[in-house]
């Protein structure tokens, strides 16, 4: 990358062409060299984020690079002393700081979604302004400006809808319009075509150009909405990752439009990272990206599940009515009154807790919803005070965004060395006396290994059934988001204790009973 930047610099020197419109030609070479250096420090900062103990410094390096990039841009374009730009930046900075301090860790997915949308919106406007401003009438910058509007607008509206769903402003249920598939493809294609149309001579002048900008933004924005409203609650991690990727791509394309190598480089990095996380999520959820993009969400999959001819447990017809609402039911878990108190009359699970030497705790989104993290930590401390070894098994899709569960547990000061990835801990379940499952369902459902034809078949799961005893805290016996019954719930009481109801209440009750003994 640095090489290519140097080659640009050499080219600029030899031919003395104007590489970047509106920039003083004497500043172009130093600008390109410094931009290359900043792109490098950004990459170094990101690579530092792969280790926990260096991640804070990496983030800091990234943010300093960004501040320097802003300074460099202001200097290079001779706009350092333009006051109104500073005022706008100050307003954005203050709002950003307020937002970042107010947000809770549970709200992190919608925060990232919302900020994504803002980035996309900014890229959209940058693309539109590049079209309106004098200069840059060559086909390449016309098309890239149009594409910046396209990707920026769909990122803006798609992210706002996703954030609204996560924040429960809109229903978490997938909303399916009449002819949804048609509208998805139609708006996607029309938005793209309108972006390309900017090269057409008919749209080179005033009014026609402005109208096309508006048309392109509206159609692309509609595509974002149509694509996003169809996604159900539990597919959100994938959607958020994908939109993250889009916001990077939008920035990168805006960079192509205004010929800014730094913008192009960072946009490319962000685009790739979002795509990678999307891939990881899809693999962990056993979903195809194309299915999510074309809106094949849980609803059709549940229907498939009921038709399945598999030998293992599948939702019976009576329960499909509730399974159709699974996306909503799942997220409401723990929010309402508990339907039943502790189910087990005798308390073998209290003995298991007392006697266990090796315990693995499996947290799920149900724990987050009932805000039981503090109680989970107390449970860990209690078990450790009895000499037990405690670890946490984190499924890649636990929570509402990649890695969400880790952040929620780190917030209550659970050491990160106890938070184990699925591949790392899965073969340790057989050595564990006790596995405690708190608000997780699909990710521990053994039917994923056996129930051919169900949506979760083939999905990698945590092998909790290998543990000596299981304590399962779940809101109710309903199947999870995927709508497949969990055979663990029907295991004998000698092995599995099922504590129904709010996870926080169940944990408090365990503490109280243990104290009584």
């Amino acid at each position: 990358m640095l090489n290519s930047l140097i080659s640009i610099a050499v080219m600029a020197q030899s031919s003395n062409v104007n590489i970047i419109p509106n920039m003083d030609s004497s500043k172009q070479i130093p600008y390109l060299v410094l931009a290359g250096l900043l792109a490098l420090t950004v990459l170094i900062g990101i690579s530092m984020m792969s280790k926990v103990n260096r991640a804070v410094a990496g983030n800091l390096l990234g943010s300093v690079s960004m501040a320097l990039a802003i300074g460099l841009t202001l200097w290079a374009f001779d706009i350092f002393s333009v006051v109104d730009l500073w005022v706008a930046m100050l307003i954005g900075t203050i709002l950003g700081l307020i937002l970042s301090r107010k947000v809770t860790m549970l709200q992190m997915p919608q925060m990232v979604g919302l900020l994504n949308g803002f980035g996309g919106g900014a890229s959209m406007i940058a693309g539109a302004l590049t079209l309106i401003n004098p200069g840059g009438e060559d086909p390449f910058s016309l098309i890239t400006s149009g594409l910046a509007i396209y990707v920026g607008a769909l990122t803006l509206t798609g992210s706002i809808v996703a954030a609204g769903k996560l924040h429960q402003v809109f229903t978490q249920k997938p909303i399916v319009l009449k002819g949804h598939q048609f509208w998805t493809i139609a708006t996607a294609l029309l938005g793209f075509v309108s972006a390309i149309l900017f090269v057409h001579p008919a749209f080179q002048s005033g009014a026609a150009k402005i109208i096309l900008i508006l048309v392109c933004a509206v159609i692309s924005g509609a595509f974002g909405v149509i694509f996003s409203i169809r996604v159900g609650g539990a597919d959100m991690p994938i959607t958020i990752s994908l939109l993250n990727s889009f916001s990077g791509v939008a920035g990168g394309i805006a960079g192509l439009a205004i010929s800014d190598p730094l913008l192009v480089a960072v946009g490319g990095i962000v685009g790739a990272s979002g795509l990678l996380l999307t891939q990881i999520m899809c693999r962990a959820m056993n979903r195809k990206l194309t299915d999510i993009l074309l809106g094949k969400t849980s609803t059709p999959m549940i229907k498939k599940a009921t038709k399945g001819t598999a030998p293992a447990v599948i939702s019976d017809p009576a329960s499909t009515a509730t399974a159709d609402d699974a996306a909503v039911e799942f997220t409401d878990e723990g929010a309402q009154e508990a339907p039943a108190a502790l189910e087990t009359k005798e308390d073998p699970h209290l003995d298991w807790l007392k006697e266990a030497r090796r315990v693995i705790i499996v947290p799920g989104y149900g724990m987050a919803l009932s805000q039981a993290q503090e109680q989970v930590k107390q449970l860990m401390l209690l078990l450790e005070s009895q000499g037990a070894e405690v670890d946490f098994a984190i499924h890649p899709v636990a929570g509402r965004m990649p890695g969400h569960m880790n952040v929620l547990l780190a917030e209550v000061d659970i050491p990160y060395d106890k938070l184990r990835e699925m591949e790392e801990i899965n073969d340790q379940f057989k050595n564990a006396d006790l596995a405690i499952i708190i608000g997780a369902n699909d990710v521990v459902n053994p039917a994923a290994n056996t129930a051919v034809g169900t949506p979760i078949y083939g999905m990698p799961i945590l092998s909790v059934e290998d543990a000596g005893h299981l304590i399962i805290m779940n809101f109710d016996r309903q199947p999870g988001y995927a709508g497949v019954d969990n055979p663990l719930y029907d295991e004998s009481a000698d092995k599995v204790a099922l504590l129904l109801g709010d996870a926080k209440a169940s944990l408090e009750e365990i503490f109280a009973r243990l104290a009584d003994r």
């Binding site: 990101i46 900020l115 900014a122 010929s259 490319g268 990160y416």
Partner: protein, 117 residues
């Protein structure tokens, strides 16, 4: 497409590949902070917003396209929100991660966020 535009497109592809390689090494433990960090970086579009807004004209001189400039302000505010909010919240999250030996010596969730841009 001129040479420079070809080179820019190449930068886009190369940086995407390099980014893909680097990010593949990040453990899933840190995926949420990574995502919000990447999110902050996507606010790099602020550079384009600043340049494009300034190009709508020179303040105090005739010929400023005010409608475009006001949209430019909105873009700058949105991008800055993205950048600052993203980095600050990433910092806040990363400071919550403690190893076993360090846990207990510091209280969780109360650290100051390092607001930088």
């Amino acid at each position: 497409m001129s040479t420079i535009q070809f080179v820019l497109s190449a930068i886009f592809v190369v940086s995407a590949l390099v980014g893909y390689k680097i990010i593949n090494r990040v453990p899933s433990l840190l995926h949420t902070p990574l995502m919000s960090g990447m999110n902050a970086f996507s606010g790099v579009t602020i550079l384009g917003c600043l340049a494009a807004t300034a190009a709508t004209g020179v303040l105090g001189e005739p010929g400023v396209n005010w409608i475009a400039r006001i949209f430019g302000y909105i873009a700058i505010i949105l991008a800055m929100l993205n950048v600052v909010g993203g980095f600050a919240v990433t910092d806040r999250m990363l400071r919550m991660f403690h190893s076993e030996s360090a846990a207990g010596t510091e209280t969780a969730g109360t650290e100051k966020t390092g607001g930088q841009d």
